[in-house]
C-alpha cells in the first residue's frame, strides 16, 4: 500500500517518528540518567542532560558491586552457549542427513520439548541438578540451557535441503565424516548459522531465570541477576541502577546494530509468510 497524497505521507512519517521516539525514550533516559549524580537524578523538575556528567556510577559498579565478576560469569555462559550451538548444529545435521533406527522417535522428543513452557521444567530440572550435586556451580547454570530444541529443528530444516550427492562425493574422495561436517556442512550452513550465533549471543547474555535459580552465591551471579539484586539493595539510587542497566543493554544494542542485516534477512529466509 502506497500513500496517495503528500499529506498522507507526512502523517505516516510523523506517526513513525513519534512512535520511534516513544520506543527509544527509555533507552535515552537510561543513558542520560546513568551519568547524573545521585542528587541530580532525583531532582524535580528533572534535567535532560546531566549538569556535571560523571562516571561515578559506572566506577561504583565495578569497584564496589562486583560487576566485574558478573561480567566474567556472563561471558562464560556466552562461551558455553556457543558450544551448545555447535551441539545443536551437529544434531540438526544428524537428523537431517542420516538414516538410523529410532530417528522418528528421537525427533519427536525434540518436537515435544520445543513446545514446552519453561515453567514446567523449572522445578524438576532444578531437582535433577540438585541430585547431581550441581547447584551453585557454573556447570549447573550452563548445562540445562546448552540444547535448544527449536534450534535443532531450524537447523535440521536447513540440512534437509543440502544435496546428498555433495556429501556422497566428499565421502568418495575419502573425506571423513567429521571433516565433512566441519569443512563442508558448516560453511554451507553459514547464512543460517550466523543468525543463530547472534541470537544465541543475545539470549545467553540476557539469561536470567536459570542463573537466578541455581546460583546462591554472588560469585556465580550473571549481570542480569546482579542487576536485579542491585535494584533491591539500592532501591532509590536510580543513577546506579541506570548505569547497571546501560552496561547490560548498550553492548547488545551495538552488536545488534552491526549484525541487524543478517538478523532481519534471517527472518525472511526462515520462511514465515
Amino acid at each position: 500500500m502506497e500513500p496517495k497524497s503528500k499529506l498522507e505521507k507526512f502523517i505516516v512519517t510523523f506517526l513513525l517518528v513519534f512512535g520511534g521516539i516513544s520506543v527509544s525514550l527509555p533507552f535515552i533516559w537510561m543513558i542520560l540518567s546513568s551519568f547524573k549524580t545521585e542528587r541530580e537524578v532525583l531532582q524535580i523538575p528533572p534535567t535532560l542532560f546531566p549538569q556535571n556528567p560523571t562516571f561515578q556510577n559506572y566506577l561504583e559498579l565495578f569497584q564496589n558491586l562486583n560487576f566485574d565478576v558478573y561480567l566474567v560469569n556472563t561471558l562464560i555462559i556466552v562461551f558455553f552457549s556457543m558450544v551448545g550451538l555447535l551441539l545443536n548444529t551437529m544434531a540438526g545435521y544428524g537428523f537431517g542427513k542420516f538414516e538410523f533406527r529410532g530417528k522418528e522417535i528421537w525427533f519427536m522428543v525434540v518436537l515435544v520439548t520445543m513446545m514446552l513452557p519453561g515453567q514446567i521444567t523449572m522445578i524438576p530440572t532444578y531437582l535433577i541438578i540438585n541430585e547431581m550435586g550441581l547447584t551453585n556451580t557454573m556447570t549447573g547454570i550452563v548445562l540445562p540451557g546448552l540444547i535448544v530444541a527449536f534450534m535443532i529443528f531450524l537447523i535440521r530444516q536447513f540440512m534437509v535441503t543440502v544435496p546428498d550427492d555433495l556429501i556422497e562425493a566428499a565421502r568418495l574422495d575419502g573425506a571423513g565424516e567429521i571433516y565433512i561436517f566441519f569443512k563442508l556442512i558448516i560453511p554451507l550452513a553459514k547464512p543460517i548459522l550466523s543468525v543463530q550465533v547472534i541470537l544465541t549471543f543475545i539470549a545467553s547474555w540476557n539469561s536470567f531465570l536459570w542463573p537466578l535459580i541455581i546460583a546462591n552465591d554472588q560469585r556465580l551471579y550473571t549481570l542480569s541477576v546482579g542487576l536485579s539484586l542491585l535494584q533491591d539493595q539500592y532501591a532509590t539510587n536510580y543513577g546506579l541502577q541506570m548505569a547497571g542497566s546501560a552496561f547490560m543493554v548498550v553492548p547488545i544494542l551495538i552488536i545488534f546494530m552491526i549484525f541487524q542485516k543478517y538478523l532481519v534477512e534471517g527472518f525472511n529466509v526462515s520462511g514465515i509468510k
Partner: protein, 295 residues
C-alpha cells in the same frame, strides 16, 4: 567406510544433544507430574523417605488458594488486554513501515526492533524508574499538562496496565518483522487487479492485505498468547507480584512457591495447571483457524 562406523556416526552427531535434552527437558516433564502428587519440600529433598504421596491434594488446595486464583485471574487479564494490544500495535507498525521508502523503513524497523534484543531485567529496572511516582519521567511529563501523578506501580489495577504497556513495548519487534515479511510476500498483481476493478483503499486492505496475512496473524497470535500466559520477568523485577498480589502471574507464583517457599510438590502442581491452560488455549486457537479456512 566400515559398517559399524557408519552406524555410529549418527550417534556421534545427535548423541550429545539428545542425551542432554532427555535429561534436562524431556525427563523433567514426567518427573514434574510425579512430584505434583507428593508433598516434596526442602526436607524431602534431604531425605527422600520423608516424601509422601498425597494424590490430588495439591490440586485441590491450589483451587482453594486465593493467591493462586488471583494469579490466574491476573494472567488472563494480561492475556485478554495484552495480546490484542501487542498483535495490533505490531501490525500497525508493520503497515506504516510498508508505506514509506526503503531508507525510512529500514531505519525505523531497527528502532522498533531494539527493545526485543535487550535484557528484560535491565528494561524493567529502567521502566521502574520511569514509572516512579515521585521522581519518574512519566509523572513529570503528565504534570506539565496538569495531570495528577499516576500511581503507576502502587495501585493493583493501574500496575497491571503499567506492566502490559511495558511488555507490549518490549515484544513488538519480532511480531513486526513477521508481519513485514508477510506484507512483502503479497503479490503486487493482486493490487493491480483490484485497481483495474476500481477498488478503493479500504476494500483493498480488507479484501487483499488482511486475508493474505491470515497465517502470519495466526502465528503471531498463538505465540503471543503462549508468551503472555507465561508472563514472569516483568512482575518479578518491577513489583514482585504486588501490590496486594495485583500483578502476580501464574508463572511468578510457581517460582515463588518453588524457590522462595521450597514447596516443590505444590509448585509442580501449579505448573501443570499452567501447562494445561497453555495447551487448551493453543487448541482453541487451532480450532478457530480451521473454522476460518472453511469459509
Amino acid at each position: 567406510m566400515t559398517k559399524w562406523k557408519y552406524k555410529l556416526m549418527p550417534l556421534f552427531f545427535i548423541g550429545p544433544a539428545v542425551l542432554l535434552l532427555m535429561v534436562f527437558s524431556f525427563a523433567p516433564i514426567f518427573l514434574s507430574l510425579g512430584i505434583s502428587f507428593t508433598d516434596l519440600t526442602l526436607i524431602g529433598l534431604a531425605d527422600w523417605s520423608k516424601v509422601n504421596f498425597v494424590g490430588f491434594e495439591n490440586f485441590v488446595k491450589l483451587f482453594q488458594d486465593e493467591v493462586f486464583l488471583e494469579s490466574i485471574f491476573n494472567t488472563f487479564f494480561y492475556v485478554i488486554i495484552g495480546v490484542p494490544l501487542a498483535v495490533s500495535s505490531s501490525l500497525v507498525i508493520a503497515l506504516l513501515l510498508s508505506m514509506v521508502g526503503k531508507w525510512l523503513s529500514s531505519t525505523f524497523r531497527l528502532i522498533y526492533y531494539m527493545p526485543s534484543v535487550t535484557n528484560i531485567v535491565a528494561i524493567a529496572v529502567v521502566w521502574g524508574f520511569l514509572y516512579n511516582q515521585q521522581y519518574g519521567l512519566f509523572n513529570y511529563i503528565l504534570s506539565l499538562v496538569n495531570i495528577q501523578s499516576v500511581p503507576w506501580l502502587e495501585d493493583p489495577l493501574v500496575a497491571k496496565f503499567s506492566l502490559i504497556i511495558l511488555a507490549v513495548w518490549k515484544s513488538n519487534g519480532v511480531s513486526m518483522l513477521i508481519f513485514l515479511a508477510a506484507l512483502q510476500s503479497i503479490p503486487r498483481d493482486y493490487y493491480e487487479a483490484a485497481d483495474i476493478d476500481g477498488a478503493n483503499r479500504w476494500q483493498k486492505f480488507f479484501k487483499i492485505t488482511l486475508p493474505s496475512m491470515s497465517f502470519a496473524t495466526f502465528f503471531v497470535t498463538v505465540t503471543t498468547v503462549i508468551g503472555w500466559l507465561q508472563f514472569f520477568e516483568e512482575p518479578f523485577v518491577m513489583t514482585d507480584g504486588g501490590p496486594l498480589n495485583g500483578t502476580n502471574s501464574m508463572a511468578l507464583y510457581i517460582y515463588q512457591r518453588g524457590f522462595e517457599y521450597n514447596d516443590f510438590g505444590y509448585a509442580a502442581a501449579a505448573s501443570f495447571v499452567l501447562f494445561i491452560i497453555v495447551i487448551i488455549a493453543t487448541i482453541i486457537q487451532f480450532r478457530f483457524r480451521k473454522k476460518d479456512q472453511t469459509l
